[in-house]
């Protein structure tokens, strides 16, 4: 016990280099795994009718981007994801603010929020289809429905953790509720809110693409399904690769931003 603590205090640079080592090992692990899959595909152990090699996926993805074959679908999906994200973040934040300001309402609704994700939200997609018809509207609706509660929870969490001293400061400075929200609460809760934004983006991706899969006339999900049904493995895998790549990229970006915000927290 004493050993652990004294090793820590004296070896903080060692701890940092441990993190770096972790990062390197991680990259190595991912490369090895992908390499393994590549090998299995090329050697024929995995049939090309089942799955094509990762390198072939990447190459074909590049091709379809260049040719612009699925540009329209990609654009539609991205637009839907963006719209869903923005809506979920803004609506979620506002709802969170409201609930935080009205503790009575909050405790009434809290059980709903806690159990919300127990229900498989997708089962309501058909409802939206019947309501809005096939198109962007039901897709965005279900994605927002999926993502909004996580934003509300993150907002509540963030607002809860604002030190009381800041609340009191806002009152002492006689700020209006609006000013207080924007000038004090928002910046103070920002790191937690950002965690919510990260999750919203993830859910928006899932919501949009899954919906397009189930029923849609356009979008990446639809294109993948179409390619699958027509045995166009190359197109299918290329699109899947694009989705995976963009999700990973977006995640990396958001995580990097998140780390900077969290570092601000720890000061």
């Amino acid at each position: 016990m004493a050993e652990a603590s004294s090793a820590h205090t004296a070896a903080s640079p060692a701890r940092r280099s441990a993190h770096q080592l972790d990062g390197l090992v991680r990259i190595a692990v991912v490369i090895v795994l992908i390499g393994l899959v590549e090998l299995l595909c090329r050697s024929g152990l995995i049939q090309p009718t089942t799955m094509i090699a990762p390198s072939a996926m990447a190459r074909h993805a590049w091709e379809i981007l260049r040719e612009g074959k699925f540009d329209k679908d990609i654009a539609i999906s991205l637009a839907n994801i963006g719209a869903a994200t923005v809506l979920a973040v803004i609506l979620g934040f506002i709802c969170g603010l409201l609930l935080h300001a009205l503790p009575g309402l909050r405790s009434a609704i809290e059980p709903l929020l806690a159990s919300y994700y127990a229900v498989p939200t997708f089962i309501f997609y058909p409802v939206f289809i019947v309501l809005f018809g096939v198109g962007s509207a039901p897709i965005i609706a279900i994605a927002v429905l999926l993502a909004i509660v996580t934003m509300i929870t993150a907002t509540l969490n963030g607002l809860d953790r604002i030190p009381r001293a800041l609340h009191k400061t806002a009152r002492v400075l006689r700020l209006t509720p609006w000013q207080s929200a924007v000038l004090v609460k928002l910046p103070a809760a920002l790191p937690y809110l950002f965690t919510g934004v990260k999750l919203v983006v993830a859910y928006a991706f899932i919501g949009v693409i899954a919906s397009e899969f189930i029923l849609s006339g356009s979008g990446i999900g639809y294109a993948i399904g179409y390619a699958y049904n027509n045995f166009e493995n190359n197109d299918m895998y290329a699109l899947m690769f694009l989705v995976l790549a963009s999700v990973t990229l977006v995640n990396l970006l958001l995580n990097a931003l998140d780390r900077r915000l969290q570092a601000r927290l720890r000061r």
């Binding site: 609704i109 159990s115 229900v119 997708f122 058909p126 309501l131 999700v247």
Partner: protein, 249 residues
């Protein structure tokens, strides 16, 4: 506020349910009868459905897939989480990878699963496992990280084998912490199975939904949606109760 809330929890749930039913009914009135079904209609439809054997065939299909997926996901996720979790480096290296995999829209991989497993029960089970296994792994690894190290050292001083240590010290020690993960995994596994049924199956409750959607049969849609929601909430509540019982300390 807190003691008051806990006292009234069953009452609150009842009020909440009533509130939802009222808003649902309100939406129905606003929308007119064509696009939505009222709560009453949904319940009636559900009632008559449940009297047909056809319905129960579908329900059983979903139930079977869910059960298998849960078993595999739970055991596999716990085992993988335990093995990775007890080694600091393995844990720190794999956790971001797992979290990234978790963030990937798993629907993207569905065609791959179908190509490997074909259409049918095993594909559905695979979907369910895909959705649920990572949260269990991550929660297990997290719980191990938060475990008091002295418990493991005590096991070491007793000369336990690695297997004994994992099964008799680590697992009981982390069980309360991972109940939240278990709840999440349950919901996600159910979701995975249902989505799978919604677009790639001819059987199951998910299929009923998609089928009704194609026919524009809003009453069946809402009936099944109602049933699934109630089922999911009931299971969630049960798991929450179980979680509370497991962690009185």
């Amino acid at each position: 506020m807190k003691p008051m809330r806990e006292m009234q929890t069953p009452l609150l749930y009842a009020l909440l349910a009533a509130g939802l039913a009222v808003s649902w009914q309100g939406l129905y009135w606003i929308n007119g009868g064509s696009a939505l079904a009222s709560p009453g209609q949904a319940v009636l439809t559900l009632g008559s459905m449940m009297q047909t054997s056809e319905f129960w065939l579908h329900a059983l299909e979903t139930g079977k897939a869910l059960l298998y997926a849960l078993l595999i996901g739970l055991v596999g996720g716990l085992a993988a989480g335990l093995l990775l979790g007890v080694n600091r480096m393995a844990r720190d290296v794999s956790e971001p990878i797992l979290l990234n995999m978790y963030a990937i829209p798993k629907v993207t991989l569905y065609p791959l699963v179908l190509l490997v497993f074909g259409l049918g029960l095993s594909a559905k089970v695979a979907f369910g496992v895909m959705h649920g296994i990572i949260p269990i792994m991550v929660f297990t690894m997290n719980a191990i990280r938060q475990m008091r190290p002295v418990l493991l050292r005590a096991g070491q001083s007793m000369r336990l084998t690695r297997r004994q240590s994992l099964l008799h010290i680590v697992l009981p020690a982390i069980l309360p912490e991972i109940t939240a993960g278990l709840r999440l995994a349950f919901s996600l596994t159910l979701l995975g199975v249902l989505i799978g049924e919604m677009f790639a199956s001819q059987r199951g409750l998910g299929f009923l939904l998609t089928n009704a959607m194609n026919l524009g049969d809003i009453r069946t849609i809402m009936a099944v949606a109602l049933l699934l929601s109630v089922f999911a909430l009931a299971c969630n509540g049960g798991l929450m109760w179980l979680g509370r019982r497991l962690s009185p300390r």
